[in-house]
Amino acid sequence: MSDSRAVLEAPDIHRALTRIAHEILERTKGADDVVLLGIPTRGATLARRLGDRVEQFEGVKIPVGSVDITMYRDDLRLRPARPLGHTELPPDGIDGKVVVLVDDVLYSGRTVRAALDALNDLGRPTAVQLATLVDRGHRELPIRADYVGKNLPTAKSEKVKVYLQEIDGRDAVVLVKGGAR
């Protein structure tokens, strides 16, 4: 049995998202042209939460959507074909917008690379930024996040699991110790 411990509890996640929402507003000077695109499954949920926060703070409703990256993954051939996630763009699309990609965990950076490829086929944003709840390091590509909820030093053998109320019935980020490897 591997042991696990919660590194973020519900209030911590709440505060981290609040801060990221403020940072997005600050960095984009009021989030006028911002579109939040979450990477399914949990990134899409986080994007919706961030959108709600921004609306609370500034009264502006920013478009929120999701972009599935399954068809753009570089490791498709390592496993049987996976079911697809849901892609949903805001009605006005992403052309000329500042897209903030939202994901739960930033690790190798390969998911983000796939998302950038997907965006390329979906339109031409003026800029793309990245928000992530947890940055656990071990990047394999030259990618970094613009907004980070928590920097979490991990060993490669460990696993980071994110639980969100809407999907899992509770909010938590759990670090699972890896077995002997």
Binding site: M71, L76, L78, P83, L84, G85
Partner: protein, 305 residues
């Protein structure tokens, strides 16, 4: 899911729903300006067509190309087949070219099944004789689901030349798996002998079935396969089994009309019925590309052994 798609009966309910759900996500690709995904880059799909077919072949071709696969079209006319090459030798040739999937349409029932024993790639049945046409059944189910929602308990009526129709057989099997209630309506001469063993009802009276149908699927009368007199005259067939305006009016208000194409307008279906807003005939073509993308993705997108 199995490695090949030869019969709609091979699909479990989970497989069928996975294909339909995947297609649902892929449908948006056809609406965007760049209608292409990189997923099957470097894979080769061979379209091996021994029978004439325009819509199925270009549908598979479009599907494979939208997933960035390389497509080789091989039609029997003007090829080594017309010089007498056997199916097995053709298969070995394709194998040597490195085909990851072979999409086969053949006049003989069971040809895809044989082919699957000779090639390493996936075999997709695009219609074999009077046996099966699974991707047509999938696209029909997809079209129904987009219009009507879940198919459990839906009443689906399939009318016409069931005997020669691979579409009917595949649809009966798939719709049964998905929990719909299928009724076949045809002249007794145009029903296969084994129809009693199929998971469906049979009726000879179209007018009695129409008011209870959520979907009415008209089949083409396949004159090219008819070497005997299956009905007295086209006019009589049309009177008894054609979907004209009066019969269309007997259907429930939200019921839809389908046809796998190509249609004989005025024979099994009246032009104004085919062109009505409740007809899905044009949608079926667009949905065909989407469902074939889903099938090719699920067969070829992951690891292949």
């Amino acid at each position: 899911m199995k490695r090949h798609l030869i019969s709609a009966g091979d699909l479990t309910k989970d497989d069928a729903l996975l294909i339909l759900d995947t297609a649902e996500e892929l449908a948006s690709v056809s609406e965007r300006s760049i209608k292409k995904l990189p997923t099957l880059r470097g894979r080769t799909v061979v379209n091996l067509f021994f029978e004439d077919s325009t819509r199925t072949r270009i549908s598979f071709e479009a599907a494979a190309k939208r997933l960035s696969a390389d497509v080789i079209n091989f039609s029997a006319k003007g090829s080594s087949v017309s010089k007498g090459e056997s199916l097995k030798d053709t298969a070995l040739t394709l194998e040597a070219m490195g085909a990851d999937a072979v999409v086969i349409r053949h006049g003989a029932s069971g040809a895809p099944h044989r082919l699957a024993n000779w090639v390493h790639g996936s075999v997709v049945n695009a219609g074999d004789g009077t046996h099966e046409h699974p991707t047509q059944a999938l696209l029909d189910a997809f079209s129904m689901r987009r219009r009507l929602g879940a198919l459990e308990g839906r009443k689906i009526t399939i009318v016409g030349d069931v005997l020669h129709s691979r579409v009917a057989r595949s649809n009966v099997l798939l719709l049964g798996t998905l929990g719909a209630d299928v009724t076949l309506v045809a002249p007794p001469t145009l029903l296969p002998v084994s129809v009693g063993t199929w998971p469906c009802e049979v009726s000879y009276d179209l007018d009695a079935v129409l008011p209870k149908s959520d979907v009415v699927m008209m089949l083409r009368v396949q004159k090219e396969r008819m070497n005997a007199a299956y009905f007295p005259s086209e006019r009589e067939y049309s009177r008894r089994y054609g979907l004209d305006r009066d019969r269309f009016a007997k259907m429930p208000d939200d019921a839809i009309v389908m046809h796998p194409g190509p249609m004989n307008r005025g024979m099994e279906i009246a032009a104004e019925v085919a062109d009505s807003a409740r007809s899905t005939i044009v949608e079926q073509v667009a949905n065909g590309v989407t469902i074939r993308m889903a099938v090719l993705y699920l067969l070829l997108g992951g690891e292949t052994t």
